[in-house]
């Protein structure tokens, strides 16, 4: 593989009291800049019930931002698929694929928060089953043919999506996974494993072996596209990068810990409340453009990843800082990584 795609995760999460119209305007400005600088994709995640943080919802957000960034791919990364009804998801993504001219990526994962499962009337123990049957139904619906299928919580009776997909046979299906059984599921059901932002590189190396073994068992080739999410803090100097990374990482991971994200991570790598320095190692990409490029190349060599989805706007970082980071990465990191491949 001799290419590398660079995407940006727009978290769209802000503390109470922020002027969300102003923040929205800034996100649109970031998107226009990414379009101009040749980034490859925009990612928006999905969480419900995020009080005391504000979060913009994934589908409205991605549809609005596509108007600002007409050549970037749009990654719904991830959709909490166990919560949803497959006809709803299949239809919405068909419309989005069509409106965007075939630029959608369908990320999906199980989710882990009780407040979300309850809110959608999904018993906690039913998550895995619903995820699998929903994904099967979505894929079948995406064929564009009438589908009849009885699931545990829905029935398709000759149901059919209302517009065709632009991407054939369907948008890429990236399955997000932290824990080992989830990685096996990703190998079995997805077009690729969408590597999460939380785990250390050494854990990922071990899990990659598991992923490859499961692909072999399924008779599936290693995917042509292998994406990873990472927190990236890039500044002109190493010291400056450390400085901008500190406070935002601290608050972000406190929130994750409170939600229980660490409970779904593998044993030995599940205490995300460690001090930042220890936390950052092999987990976040922090440094000068040279250091960042070198680390990305390292990820590429060790894991084979070729689409890096970067979170560059941690909690509290001002817009000017984010725009500078986007410029710096495009100007100095992109060419170094591409030369080094």
């Amino acid at each position: 593989m001799t290419t590398m795609q660079f995407g940006v995760m727009q978290r769209g999460v802000f503390p109470q009291g922020e002027d969300m119209r102003a923040r929205f305007g800034e996100l649109m400005e970031q998107a226009r800049l990414m379009e101009k600088l040749g980034y490859d994709s925009i990612t928006k995640g999905s969480h419900y019930s995020t009080y005391p943080m504000h979060e913009m919802m994934q589908i409205p957000y991605l549809c609005r931002v596509m108007a600002e960034a007409p050549s970037l791919r749009l990654n719904a990364g991830i959709v909490l698929l166990a919560l949803q009804k497959p006809l709803d998801v299949a239809e919405q993504f068909a419309t989005m694929d069509l409106m965007s001219g075939g630029r959608m990526i369908f990320g999906c994962a199980l989710g882990y928060r009780d407040v979300e499962y309850k809110g959608f009337g999904v018993p906690r123990g039913a998550g895995r089953k619903r995820f699998e049957e929903n994904l099967e139904a979505v894929k079948r619906l995406w064929s564009g043919e009438p589908v009849s299928m009885k699931g545990s919580h829905f029935e398709l009776d000759g149901a059919r999506i209302s517009v065709p997909l632009v991407q054939k046979p369907h948008p890429p299906i990236w399955v997000g996974a932290n824990a080992d059984p989830a990685i096996e599921r990703a190998a079995r059901l997805g077009d690729c494993w969408y590597v999460n932002p939380h785990q250390r590189l050494d854990t990922l190396e071990r899990q990659l072996v598991l992923y490859k073994r499961t692909l072999d068992e399924e008779g599936k080739p290693f995917p042509a596209e292998f994406p990873i999410r990472r927190e990236v803090f890039c500044a002109p100097t190493h010291e400056e990068a450390i400085r901008i990374a500190g406070p935002s990482l601290k608050s972000m991971y406190e929130a994750y810990e409170e939600w229980g994200q660490d409970k779904v991570m593998p044993e030995g790598d599940n205490d995300i409340s460690m001090r930042y320095a220890e936390l950052a190692k092999g987990r976040f990409i922090v440094g000068s453009p040279d250091e960042v490029a070198e680390e990305m190349l390292h990820y590429h060599r060790v894991l084979g990843v070729n689409h890096i989805i970067m979170s560059v706007q941690g909690t509290g970082l001002p817009q000017s800082q984010t725009l500078e980071t986007l410029e710096l990465i495009a100007a100095e990191v992109f060419p170094k990584v591409r030369q080094g491949l």
Binding site: S49, Y61, A67, F154
Partner: protein, 340 residues
């Protein structure tokens, strides 16, 4: 007339063989045109599994189209509320309200198609209960920091819609209703009854009285905004208008009839399978600019309707005809209605 708002309904339904990327580009052009001509709102409906037509999904469509029509209100007209989960709808609509600068209208109705109920794991029998509890939950999520509420198919346990709508206390809630009991429900739980496109105008006049009485019974005033959807077409003369729109409009109503929409309509006005001329009479607003303006003024006088959501395109109708109608309405009809 105090004030009349004119909205454009984009059904977004097209024949199976159409190139939908092309149709989408045309709808974007219609939105820019309507925005420029001063139309007040854009409406998109909601259906799943829309065969024999192709159709865009509402949430993505309205979220995208707002970029083309920054001056227009965005009407989710309607959401099939008994199919959805309240946390999902509350949070998505709140996001659209923020992204659009407070332009969302939340239209809601029961739905009636079996293929939709089944796919969402519910049934005709549960629809009224789910509709009412969903609406209650959404209102609470929009106005309270965190909500505890146990519904028949969801449980909110300290759940939040953390990003609140810009409109306070929340976006207007329009309740779509055809049948008499649904109109009484609209009076009870909505900000207004959203008058459907199908019922005859004499039926609507009768039902407006019913609505008024139901409002009185709840101690609620008649709403400031009283919206109605109508099929509208205008050309130089009535004959020309009928000739131009008939092939497309006729086909659309044949499909409604087939889907069973008329089963949800009140007795005595529950047949959409009528011969076209009978179907049009006293139901759709079609004619020359003077005639259409007159029909709109009459409708306002007889019912108080003051936001007209107009469908001017039916499956198969070409873009050039739609743009002509948008211009003729804005230039020759709206000023007459406003004067009248």
């Amino acid at each position: 007339m105090a004030d009349m708002q004119f909205g454009l309904m984009m059904r977004g339904q097209f024949p199976a063989e159409d190139d939908m990327q092309q149709r989408f580009a045309e709808l974007m052009e219609q939105a820019r045109t309507a925005n420029k001509l001063g139309y007040a709102s854009l409406t998109n409906g909601m259906h799943y599994s829309s065969a024999p037509f192709q159709d865009f999904q509402q949430m993505p469509f309205l979220s995208r189209i707002m970029a083309e029509a920054p001056g227009m209100r965005l009407n989710f007209g309607i959401i099939l509320l008994s199919l959805s989960k309240p946390l999902d709808i509350a949070e998505c609509l709140a996001t659209v309200d923020v992204l659009s600068g407070g332009k969302v209208i939340f239209g809601a109705a029961l739905g009636y198609r079996e293929v939709e109920f089944l796919a969402f794991g519910t049934s005709q029998k549960e629809r009224v209960l789910r509709f009412e509890e969903n609406l209650e939950a959404i209102k609470r999520l929009w106005t309270e920091d965190t909500v505890d509420m146990k519904g028949s198919h969801f449980e909110l346990k300290g759940a939040s819609c953390a990003l609140k709508p810009i409109q306070k206390p929340h976006p207007p809630i329009w309740i779509g209703a055809n049948a008499d009991p649904a109109i009484e429900r609209a009076a009870r739980i909505g900000d207004c009854w959203y008058v459907n496109p199908h019922n005859r105008i004499d039926t609507i006049i009768r039902q407006t009285e019913l609505y008024r009485r139901a409002l009185d019974a709840c101690g609620k005033p008649f709403p400031d905004e009283f919206p109605a959807r109508r099929e509208v077409f205008v050309a130089e003369s009535r004959e020309k208008a009928m000739e131009l729109c008939k092939p497309f409009l006729k086909k659309k109503y044949a499909a409604y009839h087939e889907w069973g929409q008329d089963k949800a309509m009140p007795e005595g006005d529950d047949d959409l399978g009528l011969d076209f001329d009978d179907l049009v009479r006293d139901r759709f607003l079609i004619g020359s600019p003077d005639e259409v303006a007159e029909q709109m003024i009459d409708l306002n006088r007889q019912t108080g309707i003051n936001h007209l959501i107009m469908s001017v395109q039916w499956p198969g109708m070409p873009q050039s005809m739609v743009l002509d109608v948008l211009h003729m309405l804005a230039e020759d009809v709206f000023p007459k209605v406003r004067q009248g």
